[in-house]
């Protein structure tokens, strides 16, 4: 079935295969010895070469496929047959898969290059930051490979493999920085929260695969499920999606994951991990379309997540946490678009978000690298010392807030247009009120996003400097170039929405219903654009006005009593701790006590009882002569009696 891509078909396994090989080989490299971190020792150089080569190779393959693939192609072979359930090893490529794969590989390459300089010990650093560079680079490669498996996989079980390997790589990478005592806990939290969601994901896949008799995506999409099964399966899948894509109520891991090195945050937030959930729903959208109940649930969660993330971002002092919450909020836009029935709008926003969020994190990394803190209260006035970083951040924040003509403007507008159509015209599979919910939340989100983006820009780059001693400067070339290169798609990707081949590819898997309801145009220029633009100006203006009054004070002070609530994200962490973590631990302790005292106690008790009984009997047998003689006589009497009785009876 792969005639569509002709000679390029053998390349497809290389897409995840190259970074996978680079990662596996990289894991075998010896960790750089401690104390040898001043120069670039050999293991580090090999690790760099492997990491960059793996990501660059994947990017080249993705670009080659991008030129050829415009309609779905797939190929597969049996992986294993478990009692009549066939699991296949194969790919299913379409325009969207190749576009997302390109984004993944590009961000991965930027992160690999950026990390070389970011994780290097400076002459004045008192702590070694990079003596485990080889495993770090290898884990990024594995992470990339896992995401590419998710993107191209033609089988749900294979998708699950990539899905979970990504989870474990995020765990390893978040725990990388040994200087942060909170990093291991954050890593465990990231893996466990997503794993809890994956319980649902596995059950959903099981339900789909068992009914269809195969886990192949093509078979699953073609199978006529009953509505009940389909709704149950889609709801279960959503649990996994909520975990990976940090949707309420499983979003709590994402802000904590900021303990990871900044390039890892870029990787997790832009192109991999959090994008996987949205991508998986878009991939299986023909199923979700037939399960409006699941989409309704998704719509409600999306609206909550979108606003929760946006409001939480307003009160953070840590620059990375502002960006982390903005990711939560932006993913809410994507799931909102999915919920109203327009996966294409979601994917367009996913791609532009990948570009501008990677840019923002890498630029923030440059700032952190220069000033040695992540707290905005200790930054300010960096515009003069770091012009490149400043302008790149402006582009990124502009795209995030949706300033025309930057990428985020077009893609967010696409989401809002879809929600508007669902709200006003009843388009899409979900009830009209879901459209209203997503649309209104999205509009409010625009104003809040503009507010916190403006605050971040002003607090970091404008005003007087709040770090008198430091002399901040733009980062070295290896960090500067990835940022500069990412600024291009962050600025211009939206314009691709006018370009035929891009439109053709991103609409390739779209269903009939979506095309009828939402049309086949990515961009929506009309009077409706004015409303979000007005909200954008209002949000940015309020933040600016607040800052103007006192440029040294945080505009977040205007939040008043809400500020601590927002800063702790509505205390949902505490709720999670009280409702899940503490009861589970208590249950575990109870189970251990019960097992040791109850179950094992019974066993030990029976042993002691047997020994005791034996001892008792032994004591009975140790009798003095008169009692023993009496006993023997009594025994003889009893036997005689028994014989006599039996004799009488017979």
């Amino acid at each position: 079935m792969s005639e569509g891509i002709g000679r390029l078909a053998p390349l497809v396994p290389l897409l995840p295969g190259l970074p996978l090989a680079a990662g596996l080989v990289g894991l075998l490299l010896p960790p750089s010895p401690r104390g040898a971190a001043t120069g670039e020792d050999r293991a580090r150089r090999v690790a760099i070469a492997l990491g960059v080569a793996g990501a660059a190779g994947a990017l080249l393959v993705a670009l080659a496929l991008l030129t050829r693939v415009d309609h779905p192609v797939e190929a597969s072979t049996t992986w294993v047959d478990l009692g009549g359930l066939r699991v296949t090893l194969g790919y299913r490529l379409d325009g969207v898969a190749v576009l997302v794969a390109t984004a993944v590989a590009a961000v991965a390459l930027a992160v690999q290059v950026y990390s070389i300089a970011y994780l290097k010990r400076g002459p004045h650093d008192d702590v070694e930051v990079d003596h485990r560079y080889p495993p770090y680079a290898a884990q990024i490669s594995l992470f990339t490979a896992a995401m590419l498996v998710v993107v191209v996989s033609g089988d749900l079980i294979l998708l699950l493999v990539g899905w979970e390997v990504m989870g474990i790589c995020s765990y390893l990478l978040i725990a990388h920085d040994r200087r942060l005592p909170e990093a291991p806990a954050a890593a465990v939290k990231a893996f466990l929260v997503t794993r809890v969601g994956d319980v649902g994901f596995l059950l959903g896949i099981a339900l789909l695969g068992v009914s269809a008799g195969s886990f192949k995506i093509a078979d699953v999409l073609a199978h006529p499920y009953s509505t009940g099964t389909l709704t149950a399966a889609c709801l279960l899948l959503l649990a996994g999606v909520a975990g990976k894509s940090a949707q309420f109520p499983l979003h709590t891991w994402l802000p904590d994951a900021m303990a990871g090195p900044t390039p890892i945050s870029a990787l997790i937030h832009a192109a991999t991990m959090v994008a996987a959930g949205v991508y998986a729903v878009a991939r299986l959208f023909p199923l979700f379309e037939r399960a409006p109940v699941a989409l309704t649930v998704l719509g409600v969660l999306a609206a909550i997540t979108l606003l929760l993330g946006a409001f939480a971002a307003t009160a953070q002092d840590d620059i990375k946490r502002v960006l982390a919450w903005s990711t939560v909020s932006q993913i809410g836009y994507m799931t909102g678009a999915l919920a109203v029935g327009s996966p294409t709008a979601a994917l367009f926003h996913l791609l532009s978000h990948a570009a501008f969020k990677a840019l923002l994190f890498l630029a923030a990394g440059a700032v952190i690298h220069a000033v040695g803190t992540t707290l905005m209260s200790r930054m300010g006035g960096l515009r003069r010392g770091m012009p490149v970083t400043f302008w790149c951040t402006v582009v990124g924040l502009g795209a995030l807030a949706g300033v025309p003509p930057l990428s985020g403007f077009w893609s967010k507008d696409g989401v809002l247009a879809a929600a508007e159509a669902a709200a006003l015209d009843g388009a899409g599979p979900t009830p009209q009120w879901v459209g209203w919910l997503v649309w209104l939340a999205g509009l409010l989100g625009v104003a809040v996003t503009a507010w916190y983006a403006t605050r971040l820009l002003l607090r970091t780059f404008f005003g007087a400097t709040r770090i008198p001693l430091a002399d901040p400067h733009d980062p070295p070339a290896l960090m500067r170039w990835p940022v500069l290169v990412l600024a291009v798609p962050a600025a211009l990707l939206g314009l691709a929405g006018f370009w035929g081949p891009f439109i053709g590819r991103i609409f390739a898997p779209a269903t009939e219903a979506e095309l009828t309801d939402f049309g086949d145009s990515l961009t929506h220029l009309g009077a409706a654009v004015l409303l979000p633009l007005a909200l954008l100006l209002a949000g940015a203006g309020v933040a600016w006005a607040g800052w103007r009054r006192d440029s040294a004070a945080d505009p977040a002070r205007f939040l008043g009593p809400l500020r601590p609530v927002f800063a702790r994200a509505f205390r949902l962490d505490d709720v999670q701790h009280a409702l899940v973590v503490r009861p589970t631990n208590a249950l575990a302790r109870a189970a251990r006590t019960g097992d040791e005292l109850g179950v094992d106690g019974l066993v030990e008790g029976s042993g002691h009882a047997a020994v005791g009984l034996g001892g008792g009997l032994a004591t009975l047998h140790r009798a003095a002569l008169p009692r023993a003689a009496a006993g023997v006589l009594a025994g003889a009497l009893l036997i005689g009696l028994a014989v006599a009785l039996i004799g009488v009876a017979s």
Binding site: L27, P31, W79, V80, D81, L82, G83, G84, L85, R132, P135, I157, L160, V161, W163, E164, V165, I168, Y171, L172, A175, R178, P181, A183, P184, A185, A187, V188, F191, L192, R195, V196, D198, V199, L202, L203, A206, L207, G209, V210, T584, N585, L587, A588, R589, A590, A591, R592, D595, V599, D600, V603, G607
Partner: protein
Amino acid sequence: MSVGQVLLVAVLAVPALGAVAVAAVPHDRAARLTGVVAAALTLLATVPLVGGDHGWFGYGPRPAVQPWHQLDLPWVPGLDLRFHLGVDGISWPLVVLTALLTLLCCGYTLWRVPDGGSGRALVALLLVVEVGILGTFLALDLVLFFVFFEVVLLPMYAIIAGWGGEDRRRAARKFVLYTLLGSVLLLVGVYVVVAAAGTADLVTLTGGAGLSRGTQLAAFALLALAFAVKSPLWPLHSWLPDAHTQAPTVGSVILAGVLLKMGTYGLIRVAVGVAPEGARWAAPVLGVLAVAAILVGSLVCLAQDELKRLIAYSSVGHMGFVLLGVATLTATGIEAALIGNIAHGVITGLLFFLAGAVKDRTHTGSLAELSGLRETAPRLAGLLGFAAVASLGLPGLAGFWGEAFAVVAAVRRGGGFWVTLAVLAALGGALTAAYFLRLLRQVTHGRPSPAVGRLAPGLAGAELTAWAPLVLLALAVGLAPALVLGYATGPVDALVGVLK
């Protein structure tokens, strides 16, 4: 005798003769080397067993067990007992795993002998245990099966009592008494079947062999209880944590790696095969207990504070997944159980090797006294991380298939009851991740504790040699599950066929 029959005899004779030779060679190191050679030859003999007539393409009615090779000799003609050996797709992977783990343990003993006795005696005992385990997997006669099942018991007792930790005698006594109780039930069960059917031949017996419903229920109850003690199935598991914690490293590896599999193998081949009616009757109970094992095992691990004890309890949870697969009585479930068996053997074997290495180096197994392993011994920490991740069932590694498809099989069985079990088992999977990550966070992350701080970063060559095959197998079985399941489809379908 055909080549296959020669191999079958060799698989049992080589380790048996090896044990004798080890005991006879006076020099300790030479004796251990002899043992390693014997174990290696055994492994070499098990691999070519896969060749031969797989015979699942014929027509007409066929018996439900069709060995690739078999050897059927009269043993005690007066009692109609036969020395009947055979190997097929269900037993072969376990046979190879047993031979491999024994070889790795003997090789490890070449490098390090635990305190307590001579290395020579330990190697000889390991080989005797191997004979018993291999015989159990190969026996096609019920009485012969019982005999081999019992051969394992005393040498294992000696290994724990001779080379174990501080509390070894009590743990060994508990192990032997508890499993003897299981053996009594097994003996009664075997004779219920043999007396009712008039034959002990497993090939004839598989499928019920005309046993009455009452006999089947009684036989299944007895056999399943016996195998549940060995597997172990909650709540009959409490011998296991003590035995594992006190056993020397090689003892724990054999115990967790293959000895427990005798229980699950027996359940599939003997209990389900001989008394299918009983299996159908008891399946819901078995399913509930299996899920209870998963949940209780994981929860206890979450509150556990000793390294080896934690890994021992994790076996309870993992075997719960295997037993859940069997309890569904579907082809998917039984195949999941088979691959789960192998995966658990490989991964938990590796985990016990690593836990032993940590304990040998730091002289403590208390989680509170271990931290920061990745700072001082990055390779050991990396391997421990790999084994833990494999054990928590990460897709792409061996542990995934058994656990995920036990859940899938329960979903496939359908109905509210089994779907509930599937949901609870899947939740147990999340708990498994929780306790392994807690373990890793405690042991590998953070600042090095005093016990960990003085570690040398390197690993001995013998350690790497013993661990590398297990690491590679965990990866290979994860990426190519057909390695284990490629030959199982025919026998499992036939077994499921007699259950209908």
